[in-house]
């Protein structure tokens, strides 16, 4: 759900709006972004949700797609890799955001 709601607008902003100059040049500047994130735990929490949760969306769908394509025999290994990857990404996200 997080991916469905947040990703399209974010991709429009980082992919088209800012690079093509439809927004002020300093929209994603270090000063603006850093002060917005480091100054607020709410912002960090929201960012954590937006970045980390979709990895679980990917893990679940990708693992079952691979199983459906015929890799059912290594289903357990795929689970470990996919969900393990999502868990690792979540931990890494938390650590990185904590340090901002």
């Amino acid at each position: 759900m997080v991916a469905a709601l947040f990703l399209p607008i974010l991709m429009v902003i980082t992919g088209f709006v800012v690079p093509n100059g439809f927004a002020p040049l300093d929209t994603l500047s270090y000063e603006r972004v850093h002060s917005a994130i480091s100054g607020s735990n709410i912002v960090k929490l929201v960012l954590f949700g937006v970045i980390a949760l979709p990895f679980f969306h990917w893990a679940h769908r990708f693992k079952f797609t691979l199983v459906d394509i015929g890799l059912r025999k290594i289903s357990l290994l795929l689970s470990v890799l996919c969900y393990g990857g999502a868990i690792s990404a979540t931990v890494v996200t938390a650590i990185i955001l904590w340090q901002i």
Binding site: L5, P8, M11, I13, T27, H34, H57, W58, T93
Partner: protein, 130 residues
Amino acid sequence: MSYIRKVPNTWWLQRKPYFLFIVRELTSVAVAGYCGFLLYLMYALSKGPVAYSDAIGLITHPASYTLHMIGLLLVLYHTITWFNVTPKVLVFHLGEEKVPAVIIAGAHYAGWLATSALVAWLLLGTGTSV
């Protein structure tokens, strides 16, 4: 013992709905890819202004436009197919009648519009002040 038909691994190539289903599931790769990019931006942010400038500069790279375009199409496909499925999942009864599908899906689209407007206002508008 019941007979279990062997299904070939290419089952999803045999009918258009099956193919579109696999495409939909694979949009999750675009989702993970973009979140990986966001994570990289956050990592660079934690390393200071120079590292962050280099990282955010990537969005002006020619490949960025292509990747964003492909990713956006895939992510939009996910959003739209997901919202269109919600009436099948969220079945509410008002007396004898079910709440119409248009209302259920429509509520999700409305939420999407509101969320997008909020994010755009926060990032692009005067929502955040330095």
